[in-house]
């Protein structure tokens, strides 16, 4: 029975060898030699140090193309023209599904025809040397961003390849991304990823790990996102990770977003061991974007404003072309600069908004309910608790495609635009908290002259792409 326990050294080595035999490039990984390579990197390429020592929110876009030269050119552009502080390398979908053969075909086709037949950088296929060429070429820290349920080989190769930050986690890269990967399976596989990061950490190379906070990206109530960040943070810490960046995706209500980021930071420091350095990352709106670059810039700017007030350690930016999918590099850089301008204009201002403490208190209480139920379900073990709490529905994520979560909880905005829970299903939450949500949603129903119903949920899902925060009935209120 899988538990929240550190993978023993011999087991780590056994899995490592097994996993590296899955694809030829795995053979090139040499841990001792990799440590030396990391030690040779200059200070400004050490991800954890750069992030943790920053005195204002650092900006990072998303970006990945199949060919190495193109990826270098893309990241150089985003660094120079977008003034990104931290850079990404987004991995292609085949690699996320561990289909390295298909990724190889796509990469070769891209090399032959110049077309991008993959939607990201196949780091496993590029291998250790390919990754290091990228790390050497770019004058800033780079993170691996993906969405891979089983990221063991990807981690082994990219860590040895010089990347010092790795997004994802067993819940956050399972529940929102895939239907059938069992949660127990992904937890076990991510224990390896975290243990590997821990092994580097013990040798002085602090690999930064970043659980994916936005989850399904659609009206996720803050406490659910935070609870999952704490669980993934704890699992990673157990395996020896010492630099953790907990994530949160903007819901669009400034007070709730600032309160959530404050709560995330506070609870992260409280629930994670003292030896872990906890930082936070704020994702600009992950839901549907307006099909209009001008309006999209408004959405992006509201994210920048929120970041200026909450001051997370990092902001993942969106581009004005979000609606149409992968942005051009110019649009990607444009989203970075719009965000930078808003943050730099607003960050020196004292903007203390009433009600943030109260909202933060509510979010903390909700999160504690969820953490308590996890501990109870697992009789003190976080892994078992998480599995059983998801199984019973005591822990749940709205709009989760995975069979591992019930996906029965439904959110809706209240009259102020804050995300509340409309359908609790079996979520473990104190009754007095449920009453608060109910009262807030009832207030909205009164304003709109309609009953609380799933219709609000549906309207809210589309609201921001339709130009508003709250999905009011047609014809206005």
């Amino acid at each position: 029975m899988i538990r929240d326990e550190r993978i023993p050294a011999d087991e780590l080595q056994r899995i490592d060898e097994e996993i590296r035999s899955n694809w030829p490039t795995g053979a090139d990984v040499d841990f001792e030699e990799a440590i030396e390579y990391h030690e040779s990197l200059p200070e400004h390429k050490r991800f954890a140090d750069v992030l943790e020592s920053a005195d204002k929110p650092l900006l990072q876009p998303r970006a990945g193309v199949p060919r190495l030269d193109d990826q270098i050119e893309l990241l150089e552009y985003l660094h120079k023209e977008g003034q990104a502080d931290l850079l990404p390398t987004t991995i292609d979908s085949y690699t996320r599904d561990n289909e390295y053969e298909k990724a190889q075909q796509g990469l070769e086709k891209a090399r032959e025809t110049g077309d991008d037949t993959l939607n990201g950088f196949p780091a496993v296929n590029h291998g250790v040397d390919g990754c290091r060429k990228l790390i050497d070429a770019i004058d800033a820290p780079i993170e691996v961003r993906h969405g891979t349920p089983d990221a063991r080989l990807l981690a082994a190769i990219t860590f040895a390849g010089g990347f010092q930050s790795f997004e994802g986690g067993p819940i956050s890269y399972n529940i929102p991304y895939t239907k059938r990967h069992g949660l127990e399976e992904t937890i076990e596989r991510w224990q390896f990823v975290d243990r590997l990061a821990g092994a580097y950490t013990e040798r002085g190379i602090r690999i930064n790990r970043e659980p994916f906070g936005p989850l399904t990206g659609t009206l996720v109530p803050p406490s659910i996102a935070i609870a999952i960040m704490l669980v993934e943070g704890k699992l990673a810490a157990t395996q020896g990770v010492r630099s953790l960046t907990l994530g949160y995706g903007q819901v669009g209500n400034v007070v709730q977003d600032v309160a959530a980021l404050n709560a995330l930071k506070k609870l992260g420091n409280e629930y994670l061991p003292d030896e872990v350095v906890v930082t936070t990352v704020f994702h600009e709106w992950m839901g549907g974007f307006p099909p209009d670059e001008a309006r999209a810039n408004g959405v992006i700017s509201l994210g920048g404003m929120t970041a200026a007030i909450a001051q997370p350690d990092k902001v993942i930016t969106k581009s004005p072309q979000e609606f149409q999918g992968v942005p051009t590099k110019e649009a990607n850089a444009s989203g970075l600069r719009t965000t930078r301008q808003v943050i730099d204009m607003a960050i020196e201002q004292k903007i203390d908004i009433d009600g943030i403490e109260e909202e933060q208190d509510l979010i903390e209480r909700e999160t504690r309910c969820l953490m308590d139920t996890i501990f109870e379900h697992g009789d003190g073990d976080v892994v078992q608790g998480t599995l059983k709490a998801f199984d019973s529905g005591a822990l749940d994520v709205p709009f989760a495609p995975s069979d591992s979560a019930k996906g029965a909880v439904l959110p809706a905005r209240d009259d102020d635009g804050r995300v509340r829970i409309f359908e609790w299903a079996d979520l473990a939450m104190d009754d007095d908290i449920k009453e608060i949500h109910k009262a807030r949603l009832s207030q909205r129903a009164t304003t709109e002259g309609r009953d609380q119903s799933f219709r609000m949920v549906a309207d809210d899902v589309d609201a921001i792409s339709d130009g508003k925060l709250i999905g009011r009935p047609q014809g206005d209120v």
Binding site: T178, K179, T216, F399, P401, G407, L410, R455
Partner: protein
Amino acid sequence: MVLHTMSQTVVLGVIGSDAHVVGITILEQAFSAAGFDVVNLGVQTSQEEFAEAAVAHDAQAVLVSSLYGHAEQDCQGFHSVLEEAGVDAVSYIGGNLAVGQDDFEQTRKTFRELGFDRVFDSETDPEEAIAALREDLEITPTESERATISS
């Protein structure tokens, strides 16, 4: 009318490798609220899973959702699979059905030819699909009555 639809079963799912769950969650809620019995197969549902569920629940309607642009490919041969399994139900499809959706009438024609009774774009309100289904099921009263018995 409400009496009839109270006991009608619809099978719902996202076809192919598509993992977009929000739309069908909304549809599940809407059809349930409208009085239908809803069997939600979730995302990444195969043609065979649709057929099996329709048979197992004696469904009057099969509602297919697709948002990632590969619907045409995912639906090739779908209606033969339904027929072979003995499914006798209306079938609808909705979502972002083509990558470059310049001419929706062309897209509608394509999916009608594949065998779907109705084809909706991604801007369609759930209410519209519900109204259509009520209309389609009421014009075949024998099926409606059978539904009343079978559920």
